[in-house]
């Protein structure tokens, strides 16, 4: 039986209380929101905790506030609530699309936006059964010293698995972090580090409280798009995902654009070279193709999923192109069976 190990469970009603518990409990404490990542990870003995602090009883963390300007999404708003939120669908439809592509409907009812942004990184070696991991010796992300993807590597190559993160990074979202000793707001992009183990620029006791979406990224100013490659119509993590957000000038040329890839690096991967290339240009077929090639170059998909790196590399190009084309109002150019709306 895949069972949870024993732990102390705390369910504070106020954020300050949660922050105080985290500050007091030390390294063994973890927060949980929807539980769709932490519980399976603890059942598989990937992650451990002596105290688990649930954020789900804290009403202020779940709120979605749309004042017409910046949209504030509470970190424990469920993925289903985010996808169904009138403000999100109306103002940031590409985000609704990205969130709808996450996992399966019941897991979207449970999983939260904040949880998805903090999702543990994944890898073919790491995400195995416990006996197998023990048989080959634990990798460096767990208790060992070696990265089995690249045994000579000093770092862990597990990849970021969130679908919301690339889209929110593209839209220029910021996040609010709070701990017992204060709070800060940082661009979401800066929350991530390019390291499979230590993938969040966040102190352990900091709680991700809210996601702030800028008004300038709303649909009337910005063309957003999201494409995700997965084998099945549901459940699967992305093989690769591509999120684009483009601002055009009056003449129809790109004023500014962000292109962010998911599942091909330990963090959401911004393709700066493509963004620079496209700035000031018209987003036509030629520009798209050129930018997509740069995306492929920037991504270094390792054989750390069950897909061959070469195919994934090609898919990066295709899906980046699809996202860019869609942002430009062109046909996406690929016809996979399960594009999430």
């Amino acid at each position: 039986m895949l069972r949870l190990p024993p732990f102390d469970f705390r369910a504070p009603r106020r954020l300050a209380e949660a922050a105080a518990i985290l500050a007091g409990e030390g390294d063994g404490a973890r927060v949980v929101a929807g539980g769709t990542d932490l519980w399976p990870n603890m059942k598989r003995r990937h992650q451990h905790a002596t105290t688990v602090v649930s954020l789900m009883g804290i009403p202020e963390l779940a709120a979605v506030d749309d004042g017409g300007g910046e949209l504030r999404l509470g970190a424990t708003a469920t993925l289903a609530q985010v996808a169904a939120s009138d403000a999100v669908r109306r103002r940031y439809p590409a985000l609704a699309c990205a969130v709808r592509s996450i996992s399966s409907p019941p897991l979207r009812n449970m999983g939260t936006l904040g949880g998805n942004l903090c999702l543990d990184t994944r890898c073919t070696y790491y995400n195995q059964t416990e006996p197998w991991r023990r048989a080959i010796d634990f990798c460096m992300k767990e208790a060992g010293t070696v990265c089995w993807v690249a045994p000579s590597s000093p770092r862990c190559w597990a990849h970021a698995a969130s679908d919301a993160a690339p889209m929110l990074c593209a839209l220029g979202a910021r996040v609010l972090l709070r701990a017992h000793d204060g709070e800060r707001v940082v661009p979401l992009e800066e929350l991530y580090r390019d390291d499979g183990i230590d993938y969040l620029n966040k102190r352990r006791e900091e709680i991700l409280c809210a996601v702030l979406l800028p008004a300038e990224a709303a649909v009337e100013h910005c063309a957003g798009s999201f494409w995700k490659l997965r084998r099945r119509g549901a459940i699967d993590f992305a093989v690769v995902s591509a999120a684009a957000a483009a601002w055009f000038d009056a003449g129809g040329a790109v004023e500014r654009l962000r292109l962010v890839l998911g599942a091909v690096a330990s963090r959401p991967l911004r393709v700066v070279a493509a963004e620079e290339l496209l700035a000031g240009r018209r987003l036509d077929e030629e520009a798209v193709a050129e930018a997509a090639r740069l995306a492929r170059k920037a991504a270094t998909p390792m054989d750390n999923t069950d897909f061959q790196a070469q195919w994934r590399g090609l898919m990066v190009e295709r899906y980046a192109a699809a996202a860019l084309r869609q942002a430009a109002g062109l046909e996406p150019g690929i016809r996979p069976p399960h594009h999430p709306l």
């Binding site: 039986m1 195995q128 197998w132 048989a135 080959i136 119509g233 549901a234 195919w311 996979p336």
Partner: protein, 788 residues
């Protein structure tokens, strides 16, 4: 007039329980004082087991016992060989069956080494985590060809090699046929492992009642009676002391008949040894390692045809992966060998296989049971030959079908049931015509495909045929009893895992006795209720047990008529059974209910006359001489996105012939469900083993079962060619849907990509499962090769 029930799509009698959550599954059995079992399993695929240190685990609170091979004493044993090798001349077969707990050596990852019994499953698992199995890893045997190379490490040290079996069957003179051939096409075909992945994992609850000296075992088995018999033998009990109950089972598909799983041998022993009920429920990870799997084979096959595409002969040499042990004998590779011939005339055939031990989970039948492989090889060879001859895939099949007048058709081979491979009946061309018509073959080729290509969309079509040997012996039995309440009780020995037996058997009996379905109560899967039988496998439940029910009902009907004719003073020919009573035809008011008759047949006073039996009851057995051969044609249209190599199934058509149909609603469900598994097998599911013999995708996150979004609507059509081998004319249908999907998928994807101007004219798909990733590799190799 009572409504006819046989052949009608009546609602399932088991559904009210299943749909309300009241149905009892093994995991729902809760007994006072019950202990829970967790297993320590091998982390390594191959290794020397030096010892097990369980001291810490034994000392933990709540732990009642830790059992290793040593603790079993004389009960430690290897499981039985379920199916001995068939009587084929020159056959080589090495029996090596699985043991209860590993001793000396571990031979696949997941093999049980020790069992912990504790007050709860949590406590048992926590203790199991503290047990140290001292294993020196050995070089694992993973690759089928390297396994047979000289100097390869050996799975079983006492054998000279990893050869598990060697079988050759042939007919005619293939070499001579080859010399006459206009074309010979030969390729290497591979098929990889898949998992049955029933939604319910395995589980066992065992209780020893010391006062009654009775052992009761609830087991997720497809074959409760053989389990009962085996347990009695192993435990030194009378069969009457052992009751095995297979309650509602959450899907079987074959692996739940791998007798005996180590856990199945251990739990009943534990219950007796400890004097307390014990329960073990497999978790999903264990299911991926410890429940049997199927499918790896490598075929080197060739087909010789004349100038018109008529088959002159087939030669096949293949390797079959047995996994670490071979308790199920040679059923799977023999099925591959025999099913390859398909619905075609094959005058000359030479087939030879070697079964190979590897350090992988045990291989036993999973829905299709080797038939997929044979069908894949033959259908692909026909496609290749058709291409060389410029023939249409429909046409080459049509030219080679066994004609309707050529039945029974003798193949001159020995089948898995040890009898000669003879097709009882069949009529293949109408099914092909219907399938081609339903899918709109000509319209697709002439209009839809070219139009789609002009729009930049790559559509492809395929059509394949298959036969399936179903309903094999040896026998099943049934007891039918008319009770004094008028209720008709029907009992059989087979288990049921979703096939609707509670309904189809009731239909068979209700039809015979003229009673309403609501008055028929069916019991399956409880050895306390019926003592003889084999089990549910090989698409045989409806055929063999269904006919046993029919025969028992007919015998009861005779008793009813005999007694009623005495009581009503009318000749039996003038009586009719309807609405739960016997009437004299045309004489209103002259009726006696079956309940009244049953009471009179079992009087409290007076003598039962010599030569008669009390009551309205009969127990009858049915054993077919050989299996009935079902057949069918599948066709599909796919769209392949050349940019991503993702495939979408646009249409799927099945036309099948399983003889007389008892319940079309249930049949449809079997066919469509089989197709879904076939689609999974062809494009989503593959058990990936690494070079160390470790399974890399042991979860539903990584082993991709198709979801509701991935299975297309399936259109079905029917041809009915009754089997002459049983009175009801039934053929089996349980596996048919899953069998031909692989070659169909390959053909349709090839059709979509060849001729699309993508430089893929030479694309050949010779393996299953596929994936977008693998299609990319295949197409990329062609593009690279073509470019250089």
């Amino acid at each position: 007039m009572a409504r006819r029930v046989f052949g009608e799509p009546v609602r399932r009698r088991e559904d009210p329980r299943l749909l309300t959550g009241r149905a009892l599954f093994v995991d729902d059995v809760e007994l006072p004082g019950m202990l829970h079992v967790a297993f320590v399993r091998s982390s390594f695929a191959h290794g020397r087991l030096n010892g097990v240190d369980a001291a810490a685990a034994r000392a933990r609170p709540g732990v009642v016992a830790v059992i290793t091979a040593e603790d079993l004493g004389s009960y430690w044993q290897a499981g039985p060989l379920l199916v001995p090798p068939p009587p084929i001349e020159g056959i080589v077969f090495h029996q090596r069956t699985q043991v209860i707990l590993a001793r000396d050596k571990v031979r696949h990852a997941g093999e049980p080494i020790a069992a912990v019994v504790a007050e709860s499953r949590y406590l048992a698992e926590d203790a199991a985590a503290e047990i140290y199995a001292d294993v020196d890893p050995l070089e694992p045997v993973v690759d089928l060809e390297r396994a047979l190379a000289p100097g390869a490490p050996r799975v079983h040290d006492d054998l000279g090699s990893n050869l598990a079996a060697h079988v050759r069957q042939s007919k005619g003179d293939y070499a001579a046929a080859r010399r006459r051939a206009r074309r010979v096409v030969g390729r290497r075909f591979t098929y990889d492992h898949g998992a049955a992945a029933a939604m319910e994992n395995r589980g066992i609850v065992a209780r020893w009642d010391g006062r009654e000296e009775q052992l009761t075992v609830w087991d997720t088995t497809q074959a409760p009676i053989p389990i009962r018999n085996g347990l009695a033998r192993m435990l030194g009990l009378a069969e009457s002391q052992v009751r095995v109950i297979a309650p509602f089972i959450g899907g079987g598909f074959g692996p739940k008949i791998m007798m005996f799983y180590p856990e199945e041998m251990l739990l009943p022993w534990l219950a007796r040894h400890l004097g307390r009920p014990v329960k073990w429920i497999e978790d999903r990870a264990e299911n991926f390692f410890a429940t049997s799997q199927e499918r790896s084979q490598i075929h080197d096959a060739e087909l010789a045809v004349d100038g018109e595409g008529r088959i002159l002969g087939v030669r096949d040499r293949f390797l079959h992966d047995s996994g670490a042990y071979d308790p199920y004998g040679l059923t799977v590779p023999i099925n591959s060998q025999c099913t390859l011939l398909g619905p075609y005339r094959v005058p000359n055939y030479d087939s030879e296989f070697k079964a190979v031990f590897t350090n992988k989970t045990i291989v036993t039948p999973y829905r299709g049971a080797g038939r997929q492989h044979g069908v894949f090889v033959m259908e692909r060879l026909l496609d290749l030959a058709a291409r060389e001859l410029g023939l249409d895939p429909v046409e080459i099949r049509r030219r080679n079908y066994i004609p309707p007048e050529d039945f029974p058709h003798h193949h001159g081979l020995i089948y898995q049931d040890f009898s000669e491979l003879v097709y009882d009946s069949g009529n293949y061309e109408p099914a092909l015509d219907q399938a081609v018509e339903m899918i709109g073959w000509r319209r697709f080729k002439e209009e839809e495909q070219p139009r789609a290509r002009r729009d930049g969309r790559q559509l492809g079509i395929g059509v394949v045929s298959y036969v399936e040997g179903t309903g094999i012996g040896p026998y099943e039995g049934a007891r039918v009893t008319v009770e004094t309440s008028g209720t008709v009780s029907v009992t059989t020995g087979v288990g049921t895992q979703g096939q609707g037996h509670f309904t189809s058997f009731a239909q068979v009996v209700a039809e015979q006795l003229g009673v309403d379905l609501d008055r028929v109560r069916v019991v399956t899967g409880d050895t306390g209720e019926f003592h003889w039988g084999t089990g549910t496998f090989a698409s045989r439940g409806a055929v063999v047990a269904g006919n046993a029910c029919h025969a028992a009902a007919a015998a009861v009907r005779d008793k009813i008529l005999k007694l009623a004719s005495e009581l009503l003073e009318a000749s039996a020919e003038d009586l009719e059974l309807a609405e739960g009573e016997v009437r004299v035809r045309g004489v209103p008011g002259s009726a006696i209910t079956l309940g009244e008759l049953a009471a009179k047949a079992n009087p409290l006073r007076g003598a039962v006359r010599p030569g008669t039996e009390p009551g309205l009851e009969a127990t009858t057995y049915f054993g077919p001489a050989r299996g009935a051969t079902a057949s069918g044609v599948h066709a599909m249209i796919v769209e392949v996105d050349p940019e991503t190599l993702m495939v979408k199934i646009l249409r799927y058509v099945v036309v099948h012939d399983c003889g007389t149909v008892i319940n079309p609603l249930i049949l449809e469900g079997q066919i469509v469900g089989g197709v879904a598994q076939g689609i999974g097998n062809a494009f989503y599911e593959q058990l990936v083993y690494d070079g160390e013999g470790q399974l890399l995708n042991a979860s539903f996150m990584d082993y991709l079962l198709p979801t509701a979004s991935d299975v297309p609507p399936v259109e079905t059509g029917h041809v009915v060619t009754p089997s002459p081998l049983n009175p009801l004319g039934i053929k089996g249908a349980g596996e048919a849907g899953a069998i031909p999907t692989g070659p169909l998928f390959a053909q349709a994807v090839e059709d979509a990509l060849r001729g699309a101007g993508l430089g893929l004219e030479q694309l050949e798909i010779l393996e299953i499962p596929l994936s977008p990733n693998r299609l990319f590799e295949l197409t990329e190799a062609l593009r690279q090769g073509g470019g250089s």
